[in-house]
């Protein structure tokens, strides 16, 4: 089994629901965003670029098969789970941020201080907490905790806490355009494999040789 995701850019309406769902479900501290949706070519989201086509691009960890972040991690805190997802062990990460230098997609986020302090600083209402409330271990390693330790790196886990229970990642469930799909890339007949073949799927920055397991289906051209 090799898990993969397909994002259909034709269906993405740029609403950022997945960004918000991801942020809330995974209890990301203020200022931290694992998932970003922007309008390529434009400086302002949901505003068409001066020329060209308007479409929206969601980007989070690409769960690369040849992941530079995993290779550089001096203590093996970043690791590949059995199904191909790239996870971070919050109990082992030393916070050297080498992985942030290595990842070409800019998806890794650091905990610059205790999350409670960040909440205060951002003037969140007292005791306002959100997100999956329990710690989650995968293969005995701490891959999710609602209050992140200060000084570790975090990023998209494909919602390990949900997938380990057979549920879909929050972004997939939250997408009103139904633009996101997950499935088994090893199975040639799976929904994702079929879509990748039939619709000219592409990956981001293929020239970096990272072999992402997140695939994008191109939008149909719409001149603005």
């Amino acid at each position: 089994m090799k898990m993969g995701m397909v994002i259909d850019l034709e269906k993405c309406i740029g609403c950022r629901s997945c960004m918000v769902a991801c942020k809330q479900h995974n209890a990301q501290p203020p200022g931290t965003w694992w998932n970003r949706v922007f309008t390529p070519g434009s400086h302002r989201h949901l505003t068409p670029p001066a020329k060209g086509v308007e479409y929206f691009l969601p980007v989070h960890c690409q769960h690369c098969e040849n992941a530079p972040c995993e290779k550089v991690c001096p203590v093996g805190a970043t690791f590949h789970a059995g199904d191909g997802a790239v996870l971070i062990d919050f109990d082992r990460c030393i916070g050297c941020r080498y992985c942030m230098a290595a990842c070409p997609y800019g998806v890794r986020q650091f905990n610059w201080q205790e999350p409670e302090r960040t909440h205060e600083r951002s003037e969140y209402q007292e005791k306002y907490h959100y997100g999956y409330p329990r710690e989650h271990h995968h293969d005995g390693r701490l891959v999710y905790t609602p209050l992140r330790p200060k000084g570790v790196v975090e990023k998209c886990t494909f919602c390990a806490q949900y997938r380990d229970k057979g549920e879909l990642p929050a972004c997939v469930r939250a997408c009103p355009g139904k633009a996101r799909f997950v499935g088994d890339l090893d199975d040639p007949d799976s929904e994702v494999s079929t879509m990748i073949k039939a619709r000219d799927a592409f990956t981001l920055l293929p020239e970096k040789g990272t072999k992402p397991t997140v695939f994008y289906l191109p939008p149909k051209a719409r001149e603005v």
Partner: protein
């Protein structure tokens, strides 16, 4: 101990303690006290690592070249070389600590080392180099470890011959480590295909050349301060001046060669790199080229080498230039966002995906594709404190151990 020496010891020691306090404060508050953000995640501390590693090299390169290639003129500076090497390589390891988010977990490096990581290689070579320079220094001092310091000496038949013999034997190994720390430190950056500014085979040889230049300058400066600029060591200083000048030229050549190749083809990424390196940081760039060249050029002149103020000024220029060079490792790497694409329907356009800053700035966007990093007060204090540590260690050793050649009447 002279009054001046005491003063310098107290001053540098105090500065180191201040830095220690700043680090403790940062440990409590988190790296929020630095000015780094998610999109610009390495700053002054890691630049400092490259800087100290560079300073450390020259020492042992010189020391071993005396015993390996028989450059006899440098012999009076041998121990000073090994000492500055030790002080700087330990400073290099120290300056990494405040950059680590969870320093109390560093034991994980022993429990779960990932042998693919250049950072692990660097930890290994830096430690070996520190050990090598300490042993080297010890062996060189051995014949003079008598009297009050006699308890430190191992018992050997003829300390003098023993020292000579082993210094010669260790020299090739030490030289290998000396080169190794630069190559491996450069690899931390130059292996990263995601960052075009770093991803260059020229980086490792360039690190070696910078190190020989600046490391030799550190020894020259320390030597002149210790022995004065008189006739006696003229030969040694002249040789050092020559080494410094050649190494500086090689460094500038390697750097320019790299920039020209980056710039010539002129695709999108390199465009952005050049905008940052030669545009936003034009002043710094001019300085990183002009200061070492001027400093090294001046050190070629006998009048400069004979005057303490001029020698100190020229060495200072070179060291400052190299420091700026180290600082410039970061901006063109981090402000050129790797996640840059050509959007559909917009050929010839490059568009970078902004990164969440991870911090809360009332006046700044949550998402950044460009960030003007300049170090915070805490970062500066800690860096200065580590510099003070190196100075303190060298002064203390000079005061307490037989580092300096005895004046023969």
């Amino acid at each position: 101990m002279s009054g001046k020496m005491k003063c310098s010891l107290w001053g540098s020691g105090a500065l180191f303690l201040v830095a220690l306090a700043a680090w403790l404060y940062q440990l409590r508050q988190g790296l929020i006290l630095t000015n780094m953000v998610n999109s610009f995640s390495w700053g002054l501390y890691i630049s400092g690592l490259a800087f100290f590693v560079g300073n450390a090299a020259g020492g042992l390169v010189l020391t071993s070249s005396i015993y390996l290639f028989g450059v006899k003129q440098l012999k009076p500076l041998a121990k000073l070389g090994a000492l500055t090497a030790f002080a700087n390589v330990t400073a290099a390891m120290l300056i990494v600590l405040p950059d680590i988010g969870k320093p109390f977990r560093l034991y994980n490096l022993l429990l779960h080392p990932n042998l693919m990581s250049p950072l692990v290689w660097d930890v290994i070579v830096l430690n070996l180099y520190a050990l090598a320079s300490a042993i080297y220094l010890y062996i060189l001092m051995l014949p003079e470890l008598t009297g009050r310091l006699g308890w430190l000496a191992v018992k050997v038949e003829n300390a003098h011959d023993f020292s000579e013999k082993w210094a010669k034997r260790i020299a090739p190994v030490a030289l290998l480590f000396a080169i190794g720390i630069h190559v491996v430190t450069a690899w931390i950056f130059s292996t990263q295909g995601g960052r075009d500014w770093w991803f260059s085979p020229a980086m490792a040889p360039d690190f070696v050349s910078v190190a020989i230049a600046v490391g030799a300058t550190v020894v020259l400066l320390a030597g002149a301060l210790a022995y004065g600029t008189g006739k006696k060591y003229e030969e040694a200083y002249r040789t050092l001046g020559l080494i410094i000048f050649i190494a500086t030229c090689v460094h500038l050549f390697l750097m320019m060669n790299d920039l020209v190749i980056h710039a010539w083809y002129g695709n999108g990424e390199t465009h952005r790199i050049m905008e940052i390196a030669w545009g936003d940081f034009a002043g710094f760039h001019v300085f990183e080229v002009a200061a070492p060249l001027l400093g090294a050029g001046l050190l070629m002149l006998p009048v400069v080498r004979r005057s303490m103020p001029l020698l100190a000024l020229s060495s200072g220029l070179l060291i400052a230039g190299v420091f700026v060079h180290r600082f410039l490792i970061m901006p063109a790497a981090y402000n050129n966002i790797p996640m840059t694409i050509t959007p559909f329907g917009l050929p010839n356009t490059h568009w970078s995906l902004p990164i969440a800053s991870g911090r809360f700035f009332p006046g700044l966007d949550t998402f950044l594709d460009q960030y003007n990093y300049s170090p915070s007060l805490v970062e500066v204090v800690i860096l200065l404190g580590i510099m003070a540590y190196a100075v303190f260690l060298i002064l203390l050793a000079v005061a307490k151990l037989p580092i300096l050649a005895k004046e023969k009447a």
